[in-house]
Subunit: 191 residues, 2 copies
């Protein structure tokens, strides 16, 4: 593969490593060697590792925005949104990204500067907002049924998926599908 500018290639490679090993689990060498460039080339584009991490979080956030903007703006059926979240999660795991950004950053939290913490927080808030709207819409349209405020349920579902990815890594990917079934069941979905 190896398409795009050097900068893009660095981001792609770092993204993969970050979601496989966490921030302290990979080095500049792990990025530069497969790309056939030198460490200093990475430092040219991202002066230090936090700058690189910033770019990764921005990339991750951008992916979320792209895949949710239409629903956030115009609404629509809720069920495909939920299934989209499941599919995305499964897909990431199958593409060698077993853990998610939030899970990875939780481990490295002590190293993070305020800018990164804010960016991460903002990503979580947007994720929660999206799932909250999905649940509210779904409940209003009788696609889903659940007790309590939609936002609380949204946080719970996102937490479940995040935890499931980590358990799946240690145990087996079957856990993921099983968790999706349970979430559907808890939302009163029976097909």
């Amino acid at each position: 593969m190896l398409v795009g500018s050097t900068r893009d290639q660095i981001i792609n490679q770092a993204f993969q490593l970050m979601l496989q090993r966490g921030l302290n689990g990979f080095s500049y060498r792990d990025i530069s060697e497969p790309l056939g460039i030198k460490n200093a080339a990475i430092h040219y584009h991202f002066p230090n590792k936090m700058d690189l991490l910033s770019a990764l979080i921005a990339e991750n956030h951008q992916l979320l925005r792209e895949s949710t903007s239409e629903f956030m703006a115009y609404g629509g059926p809720a069920r495909p949104q939920l299934e989209g979240l499941f599919d995305y999660t499964m897909n990431q795991c199958q593409c060698g990204r077993p853990i998610c950004m939030v899970g990875a950053l939780a481990v490295d939290y002590n190293d993070l500067n305020d800018k990164i913490k804010l960016a991460n927080d903002s990503f979580i808030k947007d994720s929660v907002s999206w799932v909250t709207k999905v649940l509210e819409t779904g409940r209003a349209q009788d696609e889903f049924s659940f007790e309590g405020p939609a936002k609380r349920k949204a946080i719970s579902i996102l937490a479940t998926i995040q935890g499931a990815r980590q358990m799946a890594r240690v145990d087996s990917m079957d856990i993921l599908e099983s968790i999706f079934v349970q979430i559907r069941t808890d939302l009163g979905i029976n097909d």
Copy 2:
């Protein structure tokens, strides 16, 4: 504080660091300095970092066994077991252990040897067995109500709590309490 043998002190300190920063997030120095010993003293008790990690996982597993053995052997009311899980989680977070062992290991998974993977897997299986029995008992005694197999629901609840700890670290501890409320709600508990 600093009670117990040097070996115990090392384990306690390492346990704290592991659940704060993950395996790659702390060094021997982070253990030895606060204890007023030398790095080599750690290597004496635990020849390498994997041996230390093994001891931490064993310690963690032992804690689980101690707190669940009575219920696993004799049964009893399910609700206090569930609340015990919530209290334990909250307590760990308040004691400076924001992430859990499984979550930490998921990030460092590439570094782990087979022995560690097996030990971790065994811990997860025991956790799931316990929560499964709690749920089965609770459903049989009409304390809880939920759809689907108890084991699937147990995995889902454990995943939720695990993910919640990581979200709580980035966002706020309020998330934890909120998640517990949602889990109770989803189990048909109304008080």
